[in-house]
């Protein structure tokens, strides 16, 4: 946590743009460079920046650990679930073409969108859980040192 006015203001100004860029990377990933992994890292970077500037407890108010841990599993389930749906619609595992019986191209698009979303959710959550675990330890150590 910092008292530096410039850092606090800049963080506040930048955060929405970082998040917007993360979403752009996420949903642009189907056609161009980007995708769930990169987007997840960028989104998590926004949280980390806030945690560094305003302290871990502030960010945890918005993102309780419980929710983020569910997120780590949810993304994987979304990815794998998409694969399973295509299996039960008569295709092979992860064969997105069958997701839309009228247009395989549209099915492929839908499939990759969902899969990348799953990757994005998991990567964001895992990044945040790892970093918040380390930061928590650092906070505990600092408090232990003073006491």
């Amino acid at each position: 946590m910092t008292e530096d006015l410039i850092l606090r203001v800049v963080t506040k100004v930048l955060t929405p743009f970082i998040m917007l860029f993360a979403f752009y990377t996420q949903f642009h990933g189907d056609y161009g460079p980007g995708g769930g992994f990169q987007a997840g890292v960028i989104l998590a970077a926004a949280f980390v920046l806030n945690a560094l500037t305003f302290g871990l407890p502030q960010v945890r108010k918005a993102l309780p650990d419980r929710i983020m841990i569910i997120g780590t599993g949810l993304g994987v389930l979304l990815y794998a679930g998409t694969g399973m749906v295509s299996l039960f619609r008569g295709g092979n595992l992860l064969e997105y073409g069958v997701l839309d019986h009228h247009s395989p191209v549209h099915g492929q698009h839908l499939g990759i969108l969902l899969v990348e979303l799953g990757v994005g959710i998991t990567v964001t959550s895992v990044m945040w859980v790892i970093i918040s675990t380390f930061m928590e330890r650092a906070v505990e150590d600092a408090e232990g040192g003073e006491g």
Partner: protein, 500 residues
């Protein structure tokens, strides 16, 4: 998937077998309740076992098939290469996983803090996913991906042990494992550089053209050393004893029985399925170093096992020795030798899983597996000790146990090649196993019970039941060795590309 089987849902079974534990692992994390976690994991493991059993039966009946993930044709897409060898190894992984999980709840409750139990189950399932995926995949890069999934999960499992030594053991395992994984990746990368493909069947087709380049020789060296590190080929086994000793009992039983075994299988796939017998054994004469390292491992590790003061570490060194027999079988590159190696994968997995589970009984009741703390325990825990005796007899190779069947097949294969001095060495090595098993028997039965063990009782049925099933299997497949031997022979013929 061929046209005839396209409508048959059972063609999807191998892919589902990988997906079920992969999807159960995050579910377990979401529910965050150790009882729910156990129930879900157990259901997942047994259903996977059923699917693999069906797959193995199908491959034995109709031969294998290729499953295209996402419907993309090889070599562009990733395919699963379903055949008897893969199904057999997956059966080992899922069967051991299911039995070990059936035994897990009490042992986990004793050894792992409450708030980490769900994560333990999740890591267990992920390790299983990785091992199953590595076995079934027909894509060289995909092997690496699943290898990392199973390895990272295994490091986590080892680190969850109740002793602080678990952390250093896991860290060492992580470093050595990461080096092994990276070497395999470099090897795959070099192959890709020369052939432009990652599909195993496609690689096997294109490699001979470029086999004489230094790049391919280097890739071969990287893959062999990397896989050797991961399967604890002596003398690259140093990460193994501590990892198995300090891991929670459930993790020791599962990893020792499956982790190194699947790596042996991966090595078999690369050496025989991709590089080819001729390249590996005629041009590069891999046979001699493998025979030397195999025998070296048998003698060095079995001797080290005799001098251990911790029962789990004794078993871990014995594992390194037993891997020596597998590598010795591989070194022959004949149907008999490979069959011996594959058969011992199965047989040793059963024995070692059972023994580590029995070590878990002791840890559950006594809180220690150091031999010094176990004096005279045989009278206090007769069932556990009986089970250990059966497992120990298997390690020695006493007739009517699985160990005997493996040794018999291995020795016939050696005799076929007129390698009589190796036969002698392999037979003599059984004496070392007698020595380290006797060491435990002597402590457990012949010494007077220590006063500290006065109140120790036998473990409840829910612990010894699954272990007893495992040990019963080791006798069933020891008496009825012909069946497993036939499957192993078939698997060896597929690997070598020889007609029956």
């Amino acid at each position: 998937m061929s046209a005839e089987t396209a409508t048959d849902f059972s063609a999807h079974l191998p892919a589902l077998a990988v997906m079920v534990p992969l999807m159960t692992a995050p579910l377990v994390v979401i529910f965050r309740n150790s009882k729910v976690a156990f129930g879900l994991s157990l259901a997942a493991a047994w259903s996977v076992f059923g699917m693999i059993l069906k797959t193995l039966m199908l491959t034995l009946e109709h031969g294998g098939w290729v499953y295209e993930l996402g419907g993309w044709k090889a070599p562009i897409g990733i395919v699963y290469n379903v055949d008897t060898v893969a199904a057999f190894v997956m059966l080992i992984v899922s069967g051991i996983g299911a039995l070990v999980l059936s035994y897990a709840p009490m042992s986990v409750a004793r050894e792992i803090p409450e708030n980490r139990q769900t994560l333990f189950y999740s890591a267990f399932l992920l390790a299983m996913t990785g091992l199953l995926g590595m076995t079934i995949t027909g894509d060289a890069f995909n092997v690496f991906v699943f290898l990392e999934i199973s390895s990272l999960a295994s490091y986590t499992l080892v680190a969850m042990g109740s002793s602080r030594n678990g952390f250093t053991a896991a860290y060492r395992y992580l470093i050595m494992g990461a080096i092994g994984g990276t070497f395999i990746l470099i090897g795959i990368g070099l192959m890709y550089m020369m052939t432009g493909t990652l599909n195993m069947a496609d690689l096997a087709e294109r490699l001979p053209e470029v086999a004489h380049t230094r790049t391919i020789m280097a890739s071969f060296a990287f893959v062999i050393v990397g896989a050797g590190l991961k399967l604890a080929l002596w003398p690259m086994h140093t990460w193994l004893p501590n990892a198995y000793t300090y891991a929670p009992s459930v993790a020791s039983a599962f990893i020792s029985a499956t982790g190194t075994k699947v790596m042996v299988y991966v090595m078999l796939r690369f050496v025989f399925g991709i590089y080819g017998t001729e390249f590996a054994f005629t041009e590069l004469s891999l046979g001699l170093p493998f025979a030397v390292l195999g025998l070296g491992g048998i003698y060095a590790a079995s001797t080290a096992a005799i001098f251990q003061t911790n029962f789990k570490r004794l078993l871990a060194y014995s594992s390194v020795g037993q891997i020596g027999y597998i590598v010795l079988g591989m070194s022959l590159a004949t149907v008999g030798g490979l069959a011996a190696a594959i058969l011992h994968l199965f047989n040793h997995a059963i024995m070692k899983a059972g023994l580590f589970m029995a070590a878990g009984h002791i840890n559950h009741q006594v809180g220690s597996v150091r031999l010094a703390d176990l004096e005279g325990i045989g009278r206090k825990m007769p069932i556990t000790m009986g089970l250990i005796a059966i497992g120990g007899a298997g390690l020695i190779g006493v007739p009517l146990t699985v160990g005997f069947v493996s040794k018999w097949v291995l020795i016939s294969a050696l005799a076929e090649q007129d390698l009589w001095w190796v036969v002698g060495l392999a037979l003599a090595s059984s004496l070392l196993a007698v020595a380290y098993i006797w060491r435990f028997v002597e402590v457990a039965w012949i010494r007077e019970p220590a006063p500290a063990l006065e109140h120790v009782t036998e473990v409840p049925f829910w612990l010894w039941g699954p272990t007893a099933v495992m040990m019963t299997l080791s006798i069933v497949f020891g008496v009825w060795g012909a069946g497993t031997t036939e499957v192993a022979m078939e698997a060896a013929r597929i690997l070598l590309g020889v007609a029956a």
